[in-house]
């Protein structure tokens, strides 16, 4: 028999509000009511659904971080009910209140019977995953001048000439100078002053700085807040503010500095990369990648977009290094294409990617051509390594002479792989079939790609072996009973998201793409085209795409986690650390991979 107060409350509480009176009565019969007093800690791992009736309950993470407050109509415990995993959160009663404990059986019964209720709790769960992620963004409002201004003082004396000033500005790549006399700030000079006060008035280059500078400039203390600087600049309509430290001038803050500080955007990093004049400068830029990655993740940029951005940065570093190499080595003796393989080619690079690159040359790499590109490749590969993109352990790098070939050389190599495939060779070679041009001639690259695709579409034996290679590893379907864990060098165990997931999909999709002669190398792009051309069912394509996104997302989050804890970034996921929903989704994804593998087997691995 039902207690009216309980059923009435349930009837007003989403998602139970969609149940009819009889169902509500049944549900309420499986409820126990408990009264908590402030400071009581709620036993949460009880395998029941907690429904807050009155009072306020605060949820803390195992690091004692406040996650959320639960009030009338809020739930807890669905995580464990949905996944069977216990939580390490603590729930503390903050304001006396009643909770309803709904028995697990009734909860599940309700979910099975009413799809909408099931969906509601699943959504609640996935929302929770996003919601509770740390949000400790360094607020724009609390940035200080010292956080963004460079500790670099570029000063000139008042008796020096306008020409000296112009030269110093160009050499230091700045647009303004501090004018100092006996270490005391007496004025500032901007490139605009040189234009409007010197050139426009036809003054000679020998004009003294003291005649054209702005005297007694505004200045700001380096411990001031950034918004104070913004205010001061707009108030006086100026773009340059000398920065002082205890009254002594220590640098210059420009409007551009402020704008840049407000833009945690990869565009700025890429712009920065293209301004660097040395490998050391590029290394400094690359040190910002980790911070950028954290920003991206805070802004909830999905993993595939983040992968795209990280790849673009690697591309920019590569391009700039090639430029710098040419500055050092002179003009190249012939046309070339700098190629990337693997994840960089596929635009799904992660933070721990290593180098996979090569050179495609117009001429045979002998004599000066050979020497030049050997030096160029060495410079670029070492430079990338210095920027944190580690040298390829398998030596798939342009610095390896075997990977600096002419079009004829590459064409011959691909032809061999395709015409006389051996499983072992293909296992190693499959990475070469995802290739993209990063710098240099596109025409040269296109010729190679056409050549490759023409061969692969007509090579059933090659596709047979490539498929066999793709099927060698399987997704850990038994994940939930017996963890299949790989060990990394440091004896940490975990589920390898790349080897056991992402790569499996990449490999499968590659087989189809080479079969269909698709130029696209990005896995998502390949899947789209495969579906568009009717090569694979659009539903299968979508499923694989979803599984791929999910695994990439988990890996991206894992990397974020590693970064924040200053660990080495690895692909090994500790099963104890993943949320229940992720576990559900992983299981689904593995099933999708398994199915797709068996389709590839049927299609490409029948008796020839």
């Amino acid at each position: 028999m039902e207690v009216a107060d309980v059923t009435k409350f349930l009837a007003e509480t989403t998602p139970f509000d969609q149940l009819d009176g009889a169902a509500l009565g049944q549900l309420s019969a499986h409820i126990n009511v408990y009264y908590y007093q402030a400071q009581d800690s709620v036993k949460i791992n009880t395998d029941r659904l907690l429904i807050v009736r009155t009072g306020i309950f605060t949820l803390y993470s195992d690091q004692q971080q406040l996650l959320t407050k639960l009030q009338s109509g809020d739930f807890y415990g669905y995580q464990q009910l949905l996944t069977g995993l216990t939580d390490s959160d603590t729930l503390i009663c903050e304001e006396d209140g009643l909770v309803y404990w709904l028995a697990a059986e009734a909860f599940h019964q309700c979910r099975y019977q009413y799809k909408n209720i099931d969906i509601f709790f699943q959504r609640l769960f996935s929302r929770r995953l996003h919601q509770y992620r740390e949000q400790q963004q360094a607020s724009r409002f609390t940035l200080k001048i010292s956080d963004i201004v460079q500790q670099r003082k570029i000063a000139i004396r008042p008796e020096q000439t306008a020409q000296d000033a112009a030269k110093l500005m160009s050499d230091s790549r700045v647009s303004s100078l501090l004018v100092e006399e006996n270490s005391k700030l007496v004025g500032i000079l901007t490139d605009r002053d040189l234009r409007s006060r010197v050139l426009a008035h036809a003054l000679p280059a020998s004009t003294q700085v003291s005649q054209v500078m702005t005297r007694q400039p505004q200045s700001i203390d380096r411990h001031a807040y950034l918004y104070e600087a913004v205010q001061q600049m707009s108030q006086h309509n100026i773009h340059h503010l000398p920065v002082t430290d205890q009254g002594v001038c220590c640098g210059m803050l420009t409007a551009t500095d402020i704008i840049r500080s407000q833009q945690d955007h990869p565009v700025y990093l890429i712009g920065e990369i293209h301004r660097q004049l040395s490998t050391d400068g590029l290394e400094r830029c690359s040190q910002q990648i980790a911070a950028l990655a954290i920003t991206l993740s805070k802004q909830q940029v999905p993993a595939y977009e983040a992968g795209h951005i990280i790849t673009t940065i690697t591309d920019a570093l590569t391009q700039r290094l090639i430029y710098l190499a040419q500055q050092k080595l002179g003009e190249p003796p012939c046309v070339f294409s700098w190629l990337a393989f693997g994840s960089q080619a596929r635009m799904d690079q992660s933070l721990n990617a290593d180098q996979d690159n090569a050179l495609l040359l117009e001429k045979e790499p002998v004599g000066i051509v050979g020497d030049y590109f050997s030096a160029l490749a060495e410079f670029v590969c070492q430079g990338l390594a210095q920027c944190g993109i580690t040298l390829c352990p398998g030596n798939i790098m342009a610095s390896n002479p075997e990977l600096r070939l002419s079009l004829k050389g590459w064409s011959g190599r691909f032809a061999r792989w395709i015409a006389t495939p051996t499983p072992d060779a293909l296992l190693k070679a499959s990475i070469f079939f995802d290739l993209r041009v990063i710098e240099g001639s596109k025409g040269l690259f296109n010729a190679l790609q056409e050549d490759i695709l023409q061969r692969t579409t007509e090579a059933p034996l090659f596709l047979y072996h490539l498929a066999q290679a793709a099927l060698q590893r399987t997704a850990p379907l038994g994940f939930f009973k017996n963890f299949i864990l790989e060990q990394d060098g440091k004896h940490k165990k975990g589920l390898d998201l790349k080897k056991r997931g992402i790569s499996l999909i990449t490999d499968l999709v590659r087989v189809y793409a080479l079969y269909a002669g698709i130029h696209e190398v990005n896995t998502r792009g390949r899947l789209q085209q495969l579906a568009a051309q009717g090569i694979i069912d659009s539903k299968d394509s979508q499923n694989l795409n979803d599984a791929f996104d999910l695994l990439a997302q988990l890996r991206w989050e894992k990397h974020q986690h590693d970064l924040q804890l200053s660990h080495d970034v690895t692909n090994l996921l500790n099963p104890a650390e993943i949320s229940g929903l992720a576990r559900h989704q992983l299981k689904d994804s593995f099933a999708v991979i398994n199915e797709a593998q068996s389709r590839v087997k049927q299609r490409f691995c029948r008796e020839l």
Partner: protein, 220 residues
């Protein structure tokens, strides 16, 4: 389940004996380990000797959790008209025509909740009525252990040095004071449930070290 009890009228007294022979937990038992049964009766009047039970509602509290799966509400076949009492409990004679037999319901109560501490708001009336009803049905009545949430509330307020007004001890006002949900309506089960909630709150306020004997003292 209680078929054996109902077969013969003489067997009714068996259930009373069963209740009598089931010991109550020792008074040193901590309150969170005791089993309670919150219950409420609706009557045709306020005189336990003359008036009759028209409905009964109960819900057990075990481990300080109100167990709704055992919440019960029965309308009782009354030998007399509900008369003017309908104004309070809203039950009319025609609704009670197909109601349950009092002996049957008392049998269920005694058989299932032997050894339980009964809880009611203003328990004296309920206790007396139950005893008279048992007497009438079975020829003898067991001794109940009752605690009274109203009495406990009174003691609590007195200790705080408050002047207790006449209305302050009524169940709805107690609920309000404890920040508990309002009663949906005046009905035996709702009242029993509300007094169960009130008990939970009172137990918490009393601290975690209370024993049954503390409760007996408080509800005296």
């Amino acid at each position: 389940m209680f078929g054996w009890l109902l077969r013969k009228r003489t067997a009714f007294s068996e259930v009373v004996n069963h209740f009598i022979n089931t010991p109550f937990p020792p008074s040193s038992t901590p309150v969170d380990q005791a089993n309670f049964l919150a219950l409420d009766l609706e009557l045709t009047g306020l005189n336990p000797r003359k008036d009759h039970i028209v409905s009964i509602g109960w819900v057990p509290v075990r481990g300080q959790e109100v167990v709704l799966s055992e919440a019960k509400h029965y309308l009782i076949n009354s030998p007399v008209s509900v008369g003017q009492s309908a104004v309070y409990h809203g039950l009319h004679d025609h609704q009670l025509k197909n109601a349950a037999d009092l002996a049957e319901i008392l049998t269920e109560l005694l058989a299932q909740y032997a050894g339980y501490i009964f809880v009611a708001h203003h328990s004296r009336l309920d206790e007396q009525c139950l005893r008279f009803a048992c007497q009438r049905c079975f020829g003898k009545a067991p001794r109940f252990r009752f605690i009274d949430t109203m009495q406990m509330e009174w003691q609590r307020l007195l200790r705080q040095g408050k002047v207790v007004k006449h209305d302050a001890l009524k169940l709805p006002n107690c609920l309000k004071r404890h920040g508990l949900p309002d009663m949906a309506n005046h009905q035996a089960l709702e009242d029993a449930y509300s007094s169960a909630l009130l008990l939970l709150s009172q137990l918490k306020l009393g601290g975690n070290t209370m024993t049954l004997s503390d409760l007996y003292l408080l509800s005296r």
